[in-house]
Amino acid sequence: MNTDPQSHINYYGCEPGKEVSPREGKRQPTPRANEARELYFETKSSVSMEFPYWYTRRWEELEGEIPIIRRAEALKSGFEHLTPTIYPGELLAMGKASFLRGSYPMPWLSEAFFMAAEDKLYMEAQESGKLTADTFTTMGKGGGNVTKSSGRVISIAGKFGLRVEEVPIMLEVARKWKDKSVDDVGHKYEQLVPGYKEKEALMRSVICMFDSGYTLPQGREVMNYYYPLQFGIDGIIRNCEEGIADVAGYPEMDRLYFYKAVILMLEGIKQWVKNYAEEAIFLASIEKQEKQKTEYLEMAERLEWISSKPPRSFHEALQVLWLFHVAVLNEDAISGLSPGRVGQVLYPYWQRDMKNGSIDREKSLELLECMRIKFTEIDCFASMGVVGGVLSGNTFNNLCLGGLLKDGTSATNELEMLILEAGITCDTPQPTLSVLYDEKLPEEFLLKGVECTKIGTGYPAWVNNQVALEFLIGNYAHEGMALEEARAWAIGGCLETSPGSWMPLELDNEIHWIPGGSAPATSVGVHFLNLPKLLEVALFDGMDMRTGQRVFPSHGYKLNSYDEIWQAFKVYFSRACHVLTLTNNIQHDAWRKISPSLVNSMLKPDCLAKGKDIGQMGCRYNTTFNIESCGTANLVNSLSSLKQNVFTENNYSLDEYRKALLANFGYKTAQETGSYSLIDQVPTEDYRDWQKIHRQSLDAPKFGNDNQFVDEIMKDWEDWFCDMTHNYRSLYDQPMYACQISVSTHGPMGAVTLASPDGRLSGTTFSDGSVSAYPGTDKNGPYALFNSATCWNHAKSQNSQLNMKIHPSVVKGREGSRKFLELIRAYLRKGGFHVQFNIVDSRMLKQAQADPDKFRSLLVRVAGFTQYWVELGKQIQDEVIARTEYEEL
């Protein structure tokens, strides 16, 4: 996930470049998918007010109604009023909004941004007539982002376009939610938490970046499509009616309203699907080309059927999957809604169709390519800080492959081979792919995965099945999870291990156990704690030296030993976790009261059985809140540097270090220079006063080199962090756990942090992920990095993240694929949880030329030759770039 298009070399999470240059085995999508992709590339992100308008209108009408019913009616009205739009050539219909890349704000979560920007938006709307067509040309920048207002389109958040005539609607709708949104209500009550002021100080100093409850209250979780696949919409409605009959008038009456709410919501979805079916019939009636006409009619027939009944074919099942995926996205601001192990969920249908000859491999591939385009079209309109700071339009719909079946044998199948193939032929950002690596997976499948990784899209990521199982059993056993059930897991969102369940899909009188998510959102709770900043605040006894404001009361340590620094850091870190857990729990409580999940609740076992929504712990597993960290390698390297330079070799006193940090080691700050990478930093006139301490800080042992001195610090931190998170309890009264993905926060969090004792300069970006080395500091090659990365047990954490860049020369050809697989396998066997690769293409090599320190460890491999890319010299680099580009042809 990456936000800043300028720095897309800092890949982490699941970020593939948007316009990908494939390098080896380049293949083309089918003409149908290619046309759809071209259309996508030409389309801008757009906001439509349809859904929020009708949602709010209905909500207003039902003042005084029982909250969950009011919510259901509002959702129903929203779905019913979405204008259906079908594009020629589509095999899968439906989308979030009436525009191709449409999305919309959800002011019931947070309206604050619109209220704050009211004047500006009105002004721009009035100015809009004066904007000339010239400005339109600037919109090309940034892919589909609408970065500037032009013509009759207003730019919102530098990303979305909104038609001028909808601006007043947006503001009017937003106004209705003032003091009623999850944000406003949560804020009112979070202030009741003792020590609340400290929370505000933490947010101001950007030790923590985001609130949780109203920003992206759902997501980072795995979908479950079992109920609609098995029972169809009408079947679920019948189940709910039976539920009502069972509970009406009995204690725990909330179940009654839940069932009623699900029925209302499903009626809305049913109408939404029917509207699409009607649109398809209309389009067929005016279509002149016979082939397209037939396709519209077939689509109408499929949609009409699944608007009430369970799917009959692979194609229909895929349409059901997609329709409910979008339906969930439309009920909340969500990122990281992962479809899960799609190839295993749909396999029974596909196998049957293959057997009876109603589909072949070519047709399947085309459908899977169309699915990729559909997932790529998803846009997310979350609250502003999140759109800009975390997502950057990425929605992280992680599709998982591999893993094990319920009985513990390899779960991969032929359909998954086709999903990988579609990932190669149709290389779009979504859905991103992850392989749940297990020793039991067949070699052919793994090598197919390697083939896909090699095209340079960044997917599939490689994730360790066994480590995940150990994590799940460790954290969900108290909720009844056993090994067999743990095997149903998948990655939710970017890299969040998420619990699943096996569901008995009955098809032709045979039971197929299909995996699906069975827990609410993860990566809710405490969002992203800035580790290097916390160390900085500890070194300055509670002060944020950037703002001059106090964050914490004095910790009282004299910091005369390394151990005292470590203790002071731990004290502050714990304080931050404490207050943020409590305030975020309150926000989530406001969320579940005002905006309870209905679509997702209906899908997730065992909400329907229990008659409870997700917020009432209707899910089978509920231990999903976590505490997220950012800047691990910089924290560990900084501790290492202090330990060596202040306490072991006594090169400097701590006071001298403080002065050096405040002086930014004699460099201008990143804010002054406008660049956030170490290489571009400009020395001040007196940098010579600091160059020795800076050099010794840079030379202190760094994580990623198999150096015991610093790796022990890493292990101390991880062991302590992973354990201490269990001391905090979520809204659902479950222990929390550690989540270690930086997403894109290492940029903004680095920006507010002074120079750190590891030699990193003020304002510059942190290392990404949690076991990635700081760029340029891993100098002993991948095996040393692997040893460092696995110095602690990754199963203690929800995840760990290792990003590597590989030069194409290393993995070229058939032998290259095999050796690449050995590299991946070796790391995972050692206990690494996740590794992903950027097979650098010429674009990235060019950036490496401009910014060599970030690519310090990128090796160019030719027989018998040893050299790092950055040391090749410009002339040679140019040659290699030219050659790389040639090879792409």
Binding site: K692, E815, F865, T866, Q867, E879
Partner: protein
């Protein structure tokens, strides 16, 4: 030749996850010092037996810290308005054992190529890497010429071989037979470099510091090749750097092919010339002598491969090998 102490080896790099110098994923051990000095060498820091400063002008701030730190006065800076230049008395540097200059440097412009390492420390790294190689992997001794440090090479190979590690070497052949003799039973795989059969061009381009002036290097190399082919039980693959205009003529290739067949072996690996090492010459303050040679074209390589094939020799081109 420098005869290193039994205990320590003199290397300039250890490189894990190397994929082109032997089967599987390997750790390459680059020995410092070579008995040839080929003009096209892509690892020029491996030629000298002595530690050498690697100096990157573009990073230098000319603050003089290195100059002040050098106890031998081997560094000088000349300053003028256009540009500053820093020069080393590299003869003096070769005798250095303390490298104060690199320690004093604050700009990252100065590093030292070459370090000493004990068998124990090197083996610890190999043992670490071993868990990541996967099936078929191992170590490859390269350089430089590993058998200019025969005791260290022998001790290392024996230690690894006895620990069931797959051992490979890459050698230029230009060392006395006795340097190989003891080590041969502990080697699984040999890359043996052949360059040319033309005495004079060989001499012009590969010799600057031959240590066996009484022998012709070519005859020594070929004799070693024959004996290895005969006495060595493992896989022997000849390697031929393809330098257009130097050794790619049909006559040389035929002679090469006939020679290979005469040894009773039949595999050759073409290594097309590349200029990736050029920057390293700058860092060493040396002139790169092979700039004028073109990188061989694809079809030219194919022709050579076909020629070998016509002799019944299996020919692999570049990294396109089945191992």
């Amino acid at each position: 030749m420098v005869q290193t102490k039994l205990a320590k080896g003199h290397l300039f790099d250890i490189q894990g996850f190397s994929v082109h110098d032997g089967p599987g994923c390997r750790t390459l051990i680059f020995f410092k010092g070579c008995s040839l000095a080929c003009a096209w060498c892509s690892n020029p820091e491996g030629i000298s037996f002595f530690p050498e400063p690697l100096y990157r002008n573009s990073k230098c701030t000319f603050d003089g810290l290195c100059m002040k730190s050098c106890p031998h006065g081997a560094i000088s800076i000349s300053r003028n308005e256009q540009n500053n230049t820093l020069t080393f008395d590299r003869g003096t540097c070769a005798k250095c054992t303390t490298y104060d200059c690199a320690k004093a440097c604050c700009s990252g412009a100065l590093n030292i190529a070459g370090f000493e390492i004990s068998i124990e420390d090197l083996y610890a790294t190999i043992n670490r890497d071993r868990q990541y190689w996967g099936p078929g992997g191992g170590i490859t001794l390269t350089g430089g010429e590993p058998f200019t440090q025969p005791e260290f090479a022998y001790n290392l190979l024996k230690r690894c071989f006895e620990a069931y590690i797959h051992t490979a070497i890459e050698t230029c052949g230009n060392v006395p037979w006795k340097n190989y003799e003891k080590a041969l039973p502990y080697i699984d795989w040999i890359f043996f470099d052949l360059k040319t059969f033309n005495e004079s061009s060989f001499h012009n381009l590969t010799i600057s510091q031959s240590h066996h002036s009484t022998h012709s290097p070519i005859s020594l190399i070929l004799e070693n090749a024959r004996r290895i082919a005969k006495e060595f039980q493992g896989r022997l693959i000849f390697r031929l750097p393809v330098i257009p205009g130097f050794n790619d003529d049909k006559g040389n290739i035929s002679e090469m092919a006939r020679f290979i067949l005469s040894t009773g072996r039949n595999e050759v690996n073409l290594l097309p010339l590349h200029h990736l090492g050029r920057e390293k010459y700058n860092l060493l303050g040396k002139k790169y002598q092979a700039s004028d040679y073109n990188i061989p074209a694809k079809d030219e390589l194919q022709e050579i491969a076909d020629q070998f094939a016509s002799f019944g020799i299996t020919c692999y081109t570049g990294s396109e090998t089945p191992f």
